[in-house]
């Protein structure tokens, strides 16, 4: 991280390896009723720092790289047995997952489900728009989805955008 990330109240984020953030830092938010006290993790903000910071970069990075990989399979006209699985998986999961991950929902199952639904919905809308615009081209449709997914995954890689992490809680 080149730029130091900020905490909710504008203070700079502690460097990696430092002690967890005192809960006092997020107390103003608790007082405003935005976040219940028992759901706030008294740990480093979700900016990619901390012990598992590197791991947090992996999913958006994979989502980012998956797009060009899938496009390459199509442009190189690889046989169907090789590209059918990756292409279908990409259209059915990646764009939506990249977008829904930005919401930082507390449970991975809901993120995956809403991500899959959003992916299919975006693919459907893109395909139908191509029909109405008389621009039918599966490669164009997939490229549009790749752009959407890449922008979303890229945004997730920008540090310091989501300071307060909501802890996984019972629903």
């Amino acid at each position: 991280m080149d730029q130091p990330a900020e905490l909710p109240d504008g203070r700079p984020e502690p460097a990696r390896g430092q002690a967890p953030v005192p809960i006092a830092l997020v107390r103003p938010y608790i007082a405003r009723g935005r976040v219940p006290q028992d759901s706030v993790t008294a740990a480093a903000p979700d900016t990619g720092g901390g012990d598992d910071g590197t791991r947090r970069y992996v999913p958006p990075l994979l989502l980012l790289l998956a797009g060009p990989a899938v496009l390459a399979l199509i442009v190189l006209d690889t046989p169907a047995w090789l590209r059918a699985g990756p292409v279908m998986l990409y259209i059915a999961a990646v764009p939506g997952c990249a977008l829904v991950r930005l919401l930082r929902l507390p449970d991975p199952l809901t993120t995956a489900l809403l991500g899959a639904g959003t992916s299919l919905a975006l693919g459907l809308i893109a395909a139908q728009l191509m029909i109405y615009a008389h621009l039918w081209s599966p490669l164009l449709g997939l490229s549009t989805l790749v752009v959407v997914a890449s922008v979303a995954a890229g945004a997730e890689l920008v540090p310091g955008m989501w300071p307060v992490r909501i802890r996984k809680g019972a629903s």
């Binding site: 976040v35 590209r83 919905a121 693919g123």
Partner: protein
């Protein structure tokens, strides 16, 4: 095998190391053995013996043993160690979904269900041309699903969408199951959530999960309601604030006492999960994107979504109070601008059912009850299964209310689909649709019959009842879902006949059949004419067939296949031997000339009237 008695004995915590090892082994071995046995028996099953009770006629004993093994193992896992790692029950659910919803795909040599083949044809047209044919079929006015499938198949390098057809039900049901699990968790259930999913899989016998717009739209329906129930509930605090200064609304205590409910049956309604405003805004956007996709891809599901969302708002269990209005605007805009070709000629179809409850019920119940004995048995099982689910759900809801764990949102969502009776006839399928849309919430209440276990000492009883309930649901599923397999399967001989037709017919000719149960229209749908179109029964007398064939001066082919005969007898209630008799009359009339005959299937063209006269086909 995981026995429930032994399982209870192992439930005490903490367990010694060797007990944990045994438990882990039993958990994994149960699901592994069930999967291995089930899949191997299905692969070896011969589909030739499929009769009037469908797939049940040919399923071997090993398949039932596998299902029993899996069920006992699942119930032991869920009831003994509900706080354990979710991967084990999830794996059980996945195997269960494959064994139930993938059975036909494994046993039968070709993808089942003729309407799915037609959807492949729609997809093929869009993939080839990038356009739609709203004048040919109403479904082209809502082409979203077919456009998506066309884009996917072309991008994936597949020749058509046929490779997707067989396993679509399994893929969709796995997604449905995950959504139902999350919904059940949103109702505050723990182990009961797994049981709800387990019961949902066999209870979802309706068959709207094939390669179709409605299958995908059912997923959209679940995923739109999911955020509303998890994040957009009205909190107890807000509800309490609203009551301040208003006269106290008392529950009708005497009525509650009469049905043995406490004074406050909704005391412990689940609270919304906390989220930042930006996340809530994002979730609202997700809901709207899903709804737009639903509006663009199916004629009927968006109405059900609007009804359910509006019902949540009406009972003040959703903070997105303007969402139903926004949805209505989106829906009206789409119908007004993008389905003109359809509604300009079908206004009565769209709005004719408004308020006509009696006609809708007649169409949904009376007119659908016909066919041979086996088919009637299947219909009775379906009706009994639906009524049983609703009755069990009512008792389960009562049990939750008794503990003060009632959830008005779930109660309303289980009931809201019944309002569709007043809105749309759904082409006579209204009860199937109501059952399907209410099912996710109904199964939560059915699971609430047994979980959580009150009091805890009754765990064994609850586990045994869960096994019995699951066995009953599974048995009913196999009849309700696959009972019509005698005509819903696609026979290889029928496909070979259709292949010959497409290989030899010149574009522009008419294909005539006795019934609609022919695996045609999966390719080149715009190049040929078809009779019957939109009806189950086609011309079935020699004179009517000849007239239909002569109506096209370019020529016509008559195709007679085994699948049509079985469909006529089993589904349409025609007498046994009906198809063979018509075939004999056609041959005896001398007005038709056979051009293809194999495996009992035949193709005819019109014979010339007289030497040098009109010839009916290019045969």
């Amino acid at each position: 095998m995981n026995g429930s008695g032994a399982a209870t004995a192992l439930a005490a915590q903490p367990r010694p190391g060797w007990q944990r090892a045994v438990l882990v082994t039993l958990r994994w071995s149960g699901v592994a053995a069930g999967a291995a046995l089930g899949l191997t028996t299905l692969v070896r099953t011969d589909p030739d013996g499929i009769g009037s009770l469908g797939l049940v006629d040919v399923l071997p004993a090993g398949y039932y043993v596998a299902l029993a093994l899996l069920t006992v193992s699942f119930v032991a896992v869920v009831f003994v160690d509900p706080a354990g790692r979710p991967v084990v029950p999830a794996l059980h659910v996945a195997v269960f979904a494959v064994l139930l919803h993938g059975a036909a795909a494994i046993v039968e040599p070709l993808p089942r269900f003729v309407p799915a083949w037609l959807h492949v044809g729609f997809t093929d047209y869009i993939a080839r041309t990038g356009g739609t044919l709203p004048d040919l079929d109403a479904r082209f006015s809502w082409p979203g699903f077919f456009a998506l499938a066309a884009m996917v198949t072309r991008a994936a390098g597949l020749p058509d969408a046929m490779p997707l057809v067989s396993w679509t039900p399994v893929a969709l049901n796995l997604l449905f199951a995950a959504a139902v699990y999350r919904l059940a968790r949103a109702a505050g259930m723990e182990s009961g959530a797994w049981l709800a999913v387990w019961l949902f899989l066999p209870a979802n016998w309706v068959g709207q999960d094939y390669f179709s717009p409605q299958g995908l739209n059912y997923l959209f329906y679940l995923l739109i309601l999911l955020p509303l129930l998890v994040w957009f509930r009205v909190s107890g605090l807000t509800r309490a604030r609203r009551r301040v200064g208003r006269p106290v609304r008392r529950w009708p205590r005497r009525a509650l006492r009469l049905i043995r409910l406490p004074a406050m049956p909704l005391l412990h309604e689940p609270e919304p999960l906390p989220a930042r405003p930006a996340a809530l805004a994002g979730l609202t956007a997700v809901v709207l994107v899903l709804f737009v996709a639903s509006t663009a891809s199916h004629q009927l599901t968006p109405t059900a979504i609007v009804v359910s969302v509006a019902a949540l708002v009406a009972v003040r269990r959703s903070t997105l109070r303007s969402l139903p209005l926004l949805m209505v605007v989106v829906l009206a805009a789409y119908i007004s601008y993008l389905t003109v070709t359809y509604w300009s000629g079908h206004l009565n179809d769209m709005f004719g059912s408004l308020g006509q409850l009696g006609r809708t019920v007649d169409k949904g119940v009376t007119e659908r009850v016909q066919g041979d004995t086996g088919h009637l048995v299947v219909l009775q099982v379906r009706q009994g299964f639906a009524l049983a689910v609703w009755a069990l759900a009512a008792v389960g809801a009562w049990r939750r209310l008794r503990r003060g764990h009632g959830d008005l949102a779930f109660l309303v969502l289980a009931a809201a689909p019944f309002l569709l009776l007043f809105l749309q006839s759904y082409g006579g399928e209204v009860f199937l649709r109501i059952y399907t849309f209410a099912l996710p919430f109904m199964v939560v209440f059915v699971a609430a019959l047994l979980a959580p276990v009150w009091p805890a000492r009754r765990t064994v009883v609850a586990a045994v009842l869960a096994v019995l309930l699951s066995a009953g649901f599974t048995g009913a599923f196999l009849l309700a879902r696959y009972g019509n397999e005698s005509f819903e399967q696609v026979r290889p001989a029928d496909l070979r006949t259709v292949d010959w037709l497409y290989a030899n017919a010149t574009p522009g000719v008419t294909f005539v059949a006795l019934t609609s149960n022919v695996p045609w229209r999966s390719r080149d749908i715009e190049q040929f004419r078809y009779t019957p179109l939109g009806e189950d029964l086609g011309p079935d007398t020699t004179g009517a067939i000849e007239a239909a064939m002569r109506s096209n001066p370019r020529g016509a082919y008559l195709i007679l296949t085994e699948g049509q005969y079985v469909f006529g007898e089993s589904f349409l209630g025609k007498p046994p031997g009906w198809g063979a008799q018509i075939e004999q009359q056609i041959v005896a009339s001398g007005r038709f000339r056979p051009v293809y005959s194999a495996d009992g299937d035949k193709i005819f063209v019109l014979a010339p009237d007289k030497p040098g006269g009109h010839r009916g086909s290019t045969g």
